[in-house]
């Protein structure tokens, strides 16, 4: 609240003017889930590096929350209390976003999330400052269901989730959309590796497709055990499985598994991909493009002459423009407008996720 003893950061000698700002990026930069967040922050950094701000100097401050809401609140209070921050990229996860968005609201500081997809963030309890570049989970559930029925032609889907804030509502939504095309539903846990009870349920249900709402760590052993049991039904998961490590984790058993993601494929030959590679020594990972876009929106606001939080917020609210990930605009809740929502099905072939088909829910 009162960080007047300023020693670090701000750091540009050329500043002088009144255009010396910071943008915070808040998310799990360490801990088990860091690999889902770091690429997006790197993407934001890339956007900043490529920006020619003229008089303006902007720094990107990375705040680690370990994805833990309890650790995110002091961070949010800090950002909200420091006037040199004019925008926040994040929160990366829904939980920390839920915990902090009222703080940012109180501080009047605009947020653009690259990856928080929980439905309630905008649909049940919207705040003005919150925006996101990814469509919320309801769409994804519908998209997966649509893929299952239309592309796979499934009529007996077995739905499994991981009982967590991400997997469960997603599976709920899939179940809702599928209606009686779902044969059975089962719940598992994060950290589980033995799925025998679930497999035996599958064996008796004889599904013609399997949908899993959860993360890679559990999807890998689950898939292996499904295939070991001789079940060959197609396997499809949500964006929790999207990531370069999916192929490495699932191995041979994962051949042909499908991952649904709101992220449009990044052309490997695009300048973004190569720039990213040059800068960070790897292909752009999850939400790198969204991170890039989020930063670009804020930078555009500064370009537009915005110099206060209110200005930036007003600018973001009305922003429309073409982004790397999609055409960017926010509806009154801060969401991607319904007509902009689209999903891609990626198929795991030879350990790589390759785009298969675009699905609009």
């Amino acid at each position: 609240a009162c960080g007047t003893t300023d020693t670090g950061g701000g750091g540009s000698d050329a500043s002088g003017g009144d255009c010396d700002f910071k943008i915070g990026a808040m998310g799990a930069l360490s801990g088990a889930n860091a690999s889902i967040v770091i690429p997006s922050v790197d993407g934001a950094q890339l956007a900043l590096d490529q920006w020619d701000g003229g008089d303006c100097t902007v720094t990107l401050e990375r705040f680690d929350t370990e994805g833990d809401p309890a650790k995110a609140t002091p961070v949010a209070t800090q950002i909200a209390g420091d006037d040199s921050f004019i925008g926040v990229i994040g929160g990366a996860f829904s939980g920390e976003t839920r915990a902090t968005k009222s703080i940012y609201q109180d501080g009047g500081i605009p947020m653009i999330s690259q990856s928080a997809t929980a439905t309630d963030l905008t649909q049940e309890d919207p705040v003005e400052v919150f925006h996101r570049l990814v469509p919320y989970d309801d769409y994804q559930g519908a998209a997966i269901a649509k893929y299952l029925t239309d592309e796979v032609g499934a009529t007996k889907v077995f739905v499994v989730d991981n009982s967590e804030a991400y997997g469960e509502p997603l599976a709920d939504r899939v179940e809702e959309t599928l209606g009686d095309k779902m044969v059975q539903r089962d719940k598992t846990e994060v950290g589980q590796t033995d799925f025998a009870p679930t497999i035996s349920k599958m064996e008796s249900a004889q599904p013609d497709a399997i949908m899993y709402g959860g993360y890679i760590a559990e999807a890998a052993p689950l898939l292996k055990q499904i295939r070991d049991a001789g079940i060959t039904a197609p396997f499809i998961g949500g964006d929790g499985l999207y990531g370069a490590d999916f192929g490495k984790a699932v191995g041979d058993a994962g051949e042909g598994a499908v991952v649904m993601c709101p992220c449009a494929p990044i052309d490997e030959s695009s300048t973004f991909a190569s720039d990213f590679e040059d800068e960070f020594g790897g292909a752009p990972g999850a939400y790198a493009a969204e991170g890039y876009d989020a930063m670009s929106v804020f930078l555009a606001a500064l370009d537009d002459g915005a110099r206060t939080r209110e200005d930036v917020l007003a600018f973001v609210n009305d922003y429309t423009g073409e982004g790397l990930s999609k055409d960017i605009a926010f509806d009154e809740n801060g969401d991607v407008p319904a007509d902009q929502v689209s999903y891609w099905a990626y198929k795991n072939t030879d350990g790589k996720l390759t785009p298969e088909v675009e699905v609009s829910p």
């Binding site: 801990g31 088990a32 889930n33 860091a34 690999s35 009982s163 089962d186 719940k187 598992t188 846990e189 950290g191 589980q192 590796t193 033995d194 799925f195 025998a196 009870p197 679930t198 035996s200 349920k201 008796s204 890679i216 760590a217 890998a220 052993p221 292996k224 055990q225 070991d228 990531g243 490590d245 490495k248 984790a249 699932v250 191995g251 041979d252 058993a253």
Partner: protein
């Protein structure tokens, strides 16, 4: 709630439960041995197991083992991986003993302190595989899940007549492996001279030394044996689940510890009984309901058992002491 599913698939669920429980049991041995002798919960034991899984991966990578090799190669690779895993785990266990426990023993610290250094060691090991090694070696280390090649491909080995239950080679390996190791260890501790030394130290270290037992050696032995069993568990685990990850030890460790207590911590056979019992309970309950409550079933069963048998199913044995 679906009791029909449980009843109709009882044979299948039992087999699943035994498979799951066998691995718990092997890991539980490490807890139970250390506890029996030193009255301390070796919190780092879960990571001893985790290191074993990486050793398996390392072995396969180095010798280039993959799925679909010839039978002879499969056996050779598996046996090699087993040995490496046992070595790696035993070495880790020993290192933990040396670094985190021995200095405390020399200072006569109370058990609670050992618990904290154990937790500390566990964190260090987890971070080593989740962070430090990635820093030096890059992939596959890091915080992501890594696939371990199915060197031993799952095949149906035979079908139990009557119930028509197909039993795969991996399951046979796991169950037989666990039970054989357990019996071997049990025989060793109960019958051999060194084993008697272990039990003597468990009950009264001072007097044991008066009988000519070298306490430090016994403690080392206990960690090595417990670690080696975790190594065996690690191999069997990778055969069944095909993955590893820096934090894979935590949940298994928790369950194994529960199993050890369930069977009567300090009692080797208790570890087997506790492990199998826990595995079966979990699978049965998950068949009737679902797996999101697994830990709740496990702990409720634990509490119920302990209420009626306060020292676990088989009671304490390595170091039972009552005036």
């Amino acid at each position: 709630m679906d009791f029909d599913a449980l009843i109709s698939g009882l044979d299948r669920h039992t087999l699943d439960g035994i498979t799951r429980g066998s691995i718990y049991a092997l890991v539980a041995l490490g807890y139970t041995m250390v506890y029996g002798v030193m009255k301390l919960i070796n919190f780092a034991h879960s990571e001893v197991f985790m290191v074993g899984t990486w050793a398996v991966l390392g072995t396969y990578t180095v010798i280039g083992a993959t799925a679909g090799m010839g039978a002879g190669m499969v056996i050779a690779a598996t046996v090699l991986a087993l040995l490496v895993a046992m070595l790696a785990s035993a070495g880790t266990a020993l290192a933990v003993e040396r670094i985190a426990y021995r200095p405390l023993r020399k200072k006569g610290a109370p058990p609670l302190i050992f618990l904290i250094t154990g937790i500390g060691c566990s964190m260090v090991l987890v971070e080593t595989f989740g962070q430090l090694l990635r820093f030096f070696f890059g992939q596959p280390f890091g915080r992501v899940t890594v696939n371990i090649p199915s060197v031993l491909e799952t095949k149906t080995l035979f079908t139990i007549p009557g119930v028509d239950l197909a039993v795969s080679n991996t399951r046979v390996l796991i169950i037989v492996g666990a039970i054989v190791m357990m019996l071997a260890l049990d025989t060793f501790v109960n019958k051999s001279r060194l084993g008697r030394g272990v039990r003597a130290v468990a009950q009264d270290p001072d007097t044991a030394s008066l009988m000519g037992v070298n306490q430090e050696r016994v403690i080392m032995l206990v960690f090595v044996l417990g670690g080696a069993m975790a190594g065996v568990a690690a191999l069997l685990y990778t055969v069944q689940y095909d993955i590893t990850k820096f934090d894979i030890g935590f949940i298994i460790g928790l369950k194994a510890f529960t199993a050890a207590v369930l069977g009567g911590i300090g009692n080797l056979r208790g570890a087997l009984v506790g492990g199998l019992f826990l595995g079966i309970v979990e699978v049965y309950a998950s068949a009737v309901w679902d797996s999101s409550w697994t830990n709740v079933y496990a702990f409720v069963v634990l509490v119920v058992v302990l209420m009626f048998r306060p020292t676990g199913l088989l009671g304490e044995s390595l170091g039972k002491a009552r005036a």
